[in-house]
């Protein structure tokens, strides 16, 4: 059964080929697969300097001409239109900057309406440049304003935290003030002047040595190193207290959240002060003036709160302005990118041409499309408004033309697989039409599971039905793109696998017993001399086909389901499938 089915398929295949070949002569353009590569003509185009740009852009939209590089010995940066290419590079840089800002601030990538704009003329290019520059400058200005505001806000927030936290340090000191005796040198004793005598042995209330302090904020991850450095540099003569700021603060430049700690360092003397200051600078700790008395601190605290609120309002306004700018830009950014890409492509192509007097370009185009190419050149001349038409000559040449296969979305995948092994020479037979059927079928012969095959088929069907949606998404995931690009191949593979799965009688690696097995031990037990005792005790029984097999009524379609419970299933089936695959494969050759 397998073999007959395979024969039918081969006939279909061949018939398909005949049909396509006949259809080739009628209208080659509509059939999506080519038996041989198309005939190509070498053309030489004489373009006027004014209309060259428009003509090349029309050729670009047409997509049927391959330009040859007439300036092979010239360096990249010595070609004629290199300055325009540089201008395009500069425009792309500005667009990339704008896109990055869009993604950062409004948190979504710009929408793609799928619109395909026309190639802009050189005059329009200048306008585009101006627009981009203006937009970039505005964005830079808004960004720098926002950054300054955020920096201010950060400073004020840090100051607020300092005022609050140092309160605890000073409070502790106040608390222990009453408790500790004057001769004790407890670490939490107040170190501020006029508060209590420190470590003085006598009980008189003289002025304690004045301790200065520096308060500031430092990033949390630097604290251990900072402490150690202070200890070493000042030989243990300074005293550091620090607590964490619970909420992470936003860094103005990068926008990331950073955890910081408030610290306060007590020291005595001017030398230590300069040293401590230098170390703080080295560790990028920001220092803030902190008043000593509690009343002053409270006043400062209130002032800071009001200023924070003010800055917050200005900040939200700036953020709003920025969002507005960016959403406006985001709407047209994709179209702009496409326009700039098209301009750049036109100038790259113009760089390939010989530009000494008039612009002479040489290239290949399919012979059947010469009319369309001529039409495109005429459209280009009209668009640029000159009278002198572009002249297109066909040249006879000994060079081997390039291979051009026409494909549609169905045959594209197969052609790609064939091309991966090697592109066919000019006018050589294209293996791709054959592979439309043989590739998925050979896969199915090896796969042969109708359950898993149907899952493959349904998955591919889902991809094909939602084709448009997936194409519009323009995903960049490599794995997905590979699967999606091969959706038609997977569709056929799944379909044929269902067929071969039925023939192998393999569904999720189990056999289906639809028609009843033709091997029956129950009916032939006496003839086989097998008793119920034997059945109960032995684990395997070898069936004699002459006796147990009902000749005359073999299982109609596929392999008999009894093989699924036999011990030599794998040995038999593997040998069977392998031989079948090898015969088919070698026959291909």
């Amino acid at each position: 059964y397998c073999s007959t089915a395979v024969l039918i398929f081969r006939l279909l295949d061949f018939g398909l080929l005949r049909l396509t070949k006949r259809a080739m002569n009628i209208s080659e353009r509509d059939v999506g697969i080519s038996f041989r590569s198309e005939e190509m003509t070498r053309i030489q185009m004489f373009l006027q300097n004014d209309s060259a740009y428009a003509c090349v852009s029309e050729f670009g939209e047409l997509g049927l001409v391959q330009f040859s590089d007439l300036n092979e010995n010239v360096n990249e940066f010595q070609r004629k239109y290199i300055n325009e290419v540089r201008r395009c590079d500069e425009m792309e840089r500005k667009l990339r900057y704008i896109e990055k800002e869009c993604r950062k601030c409004i948190n979504q990538s710009p929408p793609d309406s799928g619109e395909n704009p026309e190639t802009p003329m050189p005059s329009e290019m200048f306008n585009l440049e101006l627009t981009f520059e203006k937009l970039e400058n505005e964005l830079k200005e808004v960004n720098s304003n926002k950054e300054t505001l955020m920096k201010n806000k950060l400073e004020l927030t840090e100051l607020k935290h300092i005022l609050r936290k140092t309160q605890t340090f000073f409070d502790e000191a106040q608390l222990t003030l009453g408790q500790t005796s004057r001769s004790e040198e407890s670490m939490s004793t107040s170190l501020l002047s006029a508060e209590a005598p420190i470590g003085s042995s006598s009980g008189d209330s003289q002025q304690s040595p004045k301790f200065g302090f520096i308060a500031g904020v430092i990033a949390r991850e630097r604290v251990p190193s900072f402490e150690r450095m202070l200890w070493r540099a000042c030989r243990g003569n300074v005293f550091l207290r620090q607590t964490e700021i619970e909420t992470p603060l936003e860094d103005p430049v990068t926008g990331e959240e950073v955890s910081k700690c408030v610290f306060i360092i007590f020291f005595q003397g001017e030398q230590l002060k300069t040293k401590v200051r230098k170390i703080c600078e080295g560790y990028k700790a920001t220092m803030y003036p902190c008043p000593e008395s509690q009343a002053e601190r409270r006043e400062m605290s209130m002032g800071v709160m009001t200023r924070i609120e003010d800055i917050q309002t200005v900040l939200s306004q700036t953020a709003e302005h920025q969002t507005r700018l960016l959403s406006n830009a985001a709407r047209s950014i994709r179209v702009w990118f496409r326009k700039v890409k098209k301009i750049k492509a036109v100038y790259h192509t113009l760089n390939l041409c010989n530009t000494q007097k008039a612009i002479i370009a040489e290239g290949w185009c399919p012979s059947s499309e010469l009319d369309r190419v001529n039409l495109a050149a005429r459209r280009g001349t009209e668009r640029s408004g000159t009278d002198i038409p572009a002249i297109i000559n066909t040249m006879a040449t000994r060079r081997t033309p390039p291979t051009y296969h026409r494909t549609n979305k169905f045959t594209n995948g197969f052609q790609a697989i064939v091309d991966a092994y090697g592109v066919a020479d000019y006018r050589e037979i294209n293996p791709a039409p054959f592979t439309l059927i043989t590739f998925p079928f050979l896969f199915a012969v090896m796969f042969g599971d109708c359950g898993h095959g149907s899952i493959m088929f349904l998955f591919a069907l889902w991809m094909v039905i939602n084709e448009k949606k997936f194409l519009a998404e323009k995903s960049t995931n490599e794995m997905w793109l590979m699967l999606f690009g091969g959706r038609y191949i997977i569709l056929l593979m799944g379909l044929f696998s269902v067929y071969t799965g039925l023939l192998y009688n393999d569904c999720f690696s189990k056999s289906l017993n639809i028609f009843g097995s033709s091997w029956s031990l129950a009916e032939t037990r006496e003839k086989m001399n097998v008793t119920m005792e034997t059945l109960r005790t032995t684990s395997t029984i070898q069936l004699n086909p002459a006796v147990t097999f009902q000749t005359g009524s073999p299982y109609p379609i596929g392999i008999d389901p009894i093989w699924n419970i036999s011990k030599n299933q794998i040995v038999f089936l593997n040998s069977y499938k392998m031989k079948l695959s090898i015969i088919l494969g070698v026959a291909q050759m």
Binding site: N75, R93, G282
Partner: protein, 352 residues
């Protein structure tokens, strides 16, 4: 550490990284690329040509007119990125080996910061000029120290450079000449330590690295000697700065310690075949290569040879050095192009 380093067992831990390094090495600019670069008229042309090399569009997002310092920064950033990726993926003993490579940059950074503080520059300005591969946490607190002993006790003691510094604590204070002495002493100790480490690893790494480090040691000895003619550096002090892990140790070094001028140095080098060749043809006439250039060429040659063997760590060291040479070449060409002074533009050292 010696066992498990040869052949297939090398690949368990280091195969991916060696493959990566060899891939990077294939992207090093060739003679053809340099020939194209010297034809550039402006820095923009240079950028266009570099786009077709492994550097790709590394300058694509730079606004405004290009300057040589911007190009220098970006070139270095690419190297730093590649090195840090490799360092992040490495395990012992390769990670220690890579750390040893960074110590030389740390030494340079420390000396830069001290010299800058001496000239009253601000720390943040100096920090921007430091080499990214040699940054360590306590670096910027150098502003707070004023004597080498303090420098050691507060900053160096926590860094991996601590064991190299022990000889320097006795220098009195930090002035211009003493800083150079500190730099060279640190470097001498670092080089000897690195040499010992490579020998401990053994195998092909030891063969390749010890040869390269020996040349580095000898080269420093020669350059220190030549540069010290006419300065206040005494011969004793000078001989203390010579690294002892090279071929010149011990007879060559003692002969160098006694020499007084260039010709005597040359006479010492004549006893060693490889160095004799370097001194021939080196001179200060126009059209001659200078001695430094010849020493660079020899270094490039040794580094290129290290890629001929497989399963050793020398390729990582050689890659960094070759990339640095490439950056020096590109910057030399850029400077000539930017200043339109093209007479000496061909003085770069081609690598492949």
């Amino acid at each position: 550490m010696g066992g498990g380093m040869s052949g297939p067992s090398f690949n368990i831990d280091n195969g991916y990284l060696e493959g990566l390094i060899r891939g990077f090495k294939n992207g090093i600019l060739t003679r053809n690329d340099y020939l194209n670069l010297v034809q550039c008229e402006t820095l923009e042309d240079l950028k266009v040509h570099l786009q077709s090399t492994d550097y790709g569009s590394f300058l694509a997002n730079e606004p405004g007119p290009l300057s040589v310092s911007v190009i220098d920064d970006k070139l270095r950033n690419k190297l730093v990125l590649e090195f840090q990726h490799i360092r992040n993926q490495s395990v012992e003993p390769l990670s220690t080996f890579l750390d040893y490579i960074t110590y030389s940059y740390m030494i340079d950074n420390i000396v830069l910061l001290i010299t800058g503080t001496l000239h009253q520059r601000s720390i943040s300005e100096l920090a921007a000029k430091c080499h990214p591969l040699g940054i360590f946490e306590q670096m910027e607190a150098i502003g707070a120290v004023s004597t080498p002993a303090e420098l050691y006790n507060t900053i160096i003691v926590d860094t991996p450079l601590a064991p190299f510094f022990l000889d320097c604590i006795f220098v009195q204070d930090l002035d211009e000449m003493n800083i150079e002495i500190i730099r060279n002493t640190l470097y001498k100790n670092y080089l000897e330590e690195f040499h010992n480490f490579c020998q401990q690893i053994g195998g092909i790494t030891a063969d390749v690295m010890c040869e390269i480090l020996a040349f580095e040691a000898d080269r420093r000895a020669i350059i220190i000697t030549i540069n010290s003619f006419g300065t206040e550096l005494t011969k004793d002090d000078r001989s203390k700065l010579y690294p002892c892990c090279g071929k010149l140790h011990p007879e060559g070094l003692s002969a160098l310690a006694r020499s007084d001028d260039y010709d005597q140095v040359r006479a010492v080098a004549d006893y060693y075949a490889e160095y004799k060749v370097l001194f021939e043809g080196a001179g200060n006439n126009p059209g001659d290569k200078t001695l430094e250039d010849k020493l660079f060429e020899h270094e490039v040659k040794l580094n290129v040879f290290s890629f001929l063997q497989q399963f050793h760590f020398g390729v990582f060291y050689s890659f960094i050095k070759l990339k640095e040479q490439e950056i020096r070449n590109i910057i030399w060409i850029s400077e000539c192009v930017a200043q339109r002074h093209r007479t000496k533009i061909d003085n770069y050292i081609p690598i492949f």
